[in-house]
């Protein structure tokens, strides 16, 4: 008996449409985030993360509308990240029905934004998204720094110190993505995950690199993550959320079933 480790499918959404193609065999509209969120909900996902990659200002209203539609049909926690830059952005998403918001580059540009957001809305809804990349050379003890702009722009900020600072500023959770592993299907950067998880008292979601179920289990057992996030292995129907939970449960990991 105890708290379950969470499995979180992530949807990338552009102008109200899911991109990076979700491929459920029998889904009516594979581009509709509401349909997909409902499907994941039924499959036993513990939360859903919705990453808004909409560039245009007008598109942001579409996002708010999509969040409203998901929240009125899916009764599990919903996190919305991407493009959250102001207290007003957060208010809009929470009012639309999001339970948490993910703050990424806005935190790097202005660390006090996280503090303001947490003071205003409570730490429980503030997820700080950290994109980290290894900067130590081969043979050196490993070190990671924060990168912005999809991993292209270095900031010189140490990832572990940054996580601790964000925690002190009132983050309720950390979504940690290894930019070295993202999209590779080689598994999480377990050493990074563990370094961050051990350094902060708040929950850490591991992200970036999942290619199979063993990777998910490793994120929890070796990375000490509290939750694991994945996109493509679920979207392309390689594995279901149910299979992932069964696999983890067989390895002694507590999951919700």
């Amino acid at each position: 008996m105890g708290l379950a480790k969470r499995i979180i499918p992530c949807l990338d959404v552009d102008n109200g449409r899911v991109v990076k193609g979700v491929q459920f065999v029998d889904i009516r509209d594979a581009g509709d985030p509401v349909e997909i969120a409902k499907r994941y909900n039924e499959a036993g996902a513990d939360e859903i993360t919705f990453l808004d990659i909409t560039a245009s200002h007008e598109g942001r209203d579409t996002t708010v509308h999509t969040v409203e539609r998901i929240a009125s049909e899916v009764f599990i926690p919903l996190t919305v990240g991407g493009g959250i830059r102001t207290v007003d952005d957060i208010r809009k998403m929470l009012n639309a029905g999001a339970d948490k918001v993910g703050i990424n580059s806005a935190a790097v540009h202005n660390p006090d934004f996280v503090k303001a957001a947490s003071d205003r809305f409570g730490a429980q809804c503030i997820v700080v998204a950290i994109d980290a990349k290894q900067v130590s050379a081969e043979g050196e003890s490993r070190r990671w720094e924060i990168f912005t702009h999809g991993g292209r722009k270095p900031t010189g900020i140490d990832a572990v110190e940054w996580a601790q600072k964000m925690c002190a500023n009132g983050a309720g959770e950390i979504l940690l993505t290894s930019m070295d592993r993202d999209g590779t299907k080689n598994g999480f950067d377990l050493e990074l995950t563990r370094a961050i998880s051990d350094a902060v008292p708040i929950p850490v979601i591991a992200s970036g690199g999942v290619g199979n179920l063993q990777h998910l289990a490793d994120g929890v057992t070796e990375g000490r993550a509290d939750a694991v996030l994945a996109a493509s292995i679920f979207h392309f129907g390689e594995y279901t959320v149910g299979e992932a939970k069964e696999f983890m449960a067989e390895r002694g990991i507590e999951v919700r079933r």
Partner: protein
């Protein structure tokens, strides 16, 4: 006449999810409201809450909702507190530098601590965030929910597991009250509106409950 449920809005957080979850489980009129007259006229009352207890209690007192809530409970209509809405019903909370609460349930709301650990000494993250099992004590609001079902929690402060009014227990380093009940008043630490099937069933039970054990 259609029955009605009032969800008390005192400006602390999003009530959209509570309202849509209620809409999913009944045809009652649902009023998300800060109007005391609407609350008083409703057949059932939900008292939610998120954020820091100091801010919540400040708003509750400013709007006179502590007295309103006491009246609603005294009237005998079913009342459900959720999350910080449960904590606000206790006597006092350690949060926000120590906060006096509404005192409908005796007891103290405590912090899990910065160095929270399991009995085996494993570090535990705070907030307690995610799906945990609830050991139910016989009550009509648990009808058709399997014993030890998981509900979604997110909180850093907890209500102590003391007293005969604990109607559900959860473990996270310590054993704490996941639910409290007395007569027509029920309160839960978790978010039923975010707890999928089990949570919707609890709301389904609440909107059909006559307020008796």
């Amino acid at each position: 006449m259609t029955e009605s449920v009032a969800v008390i809005d005192y400006g602390m957080g999003n009530l959209h999810s509570v309202a849509s979850a209620l809409g999913k489980v009944c045809d009652h009129e649902i009023h998300v409201t800060s109007d005391p007259a609407v609350v008083a006229a409703a057949d059932r009352v939900i008292f939610p809450g998120v954020g820091a207890i100091g801010d919540c209690m400040g708003e509750i007192r400013r709007l006179g909702f502590d007295a309103l809530l006491r009246e609603q409970v005294a009237s005998g209509k079913p009342v459900l507190g959720i999350c910080v809405g449960m904590q606000a019903l206790l006597t006092h909370s350690q949060e926000s530098g120590g906060t006096d609460c509404i005192d409908l349930f005796p007891g103290e709301v405590k912090f899990f601590g910065h160095d929270h650990k399991s009995p085996e000494g494993e570090p535990l993250k705070v907030p307690h965030m995610g799906w945990n099992q609830v050991d139910q004590v016989d009550h009509p609001l648990w009808a058709d929910i399997p014993q030890n079902s998981r509900f979604y929690f997110v909180h850093s402060f907890y209500v102590e597991d003391t007293g005969s009014e604990v109607t559900g227990r959860c473990e996270y380093g310590v054993r704490f009250a996941a639910a409290l009940g007395r007569n027509n008043l029920f309160a839960v630490q978790f978010h039923p509106e975010k707890s999928h099937t089990a949570g919707l069933q609890l709301l389904h039970n609440f909107v059909r409950w006559n307020g008796q054990r």
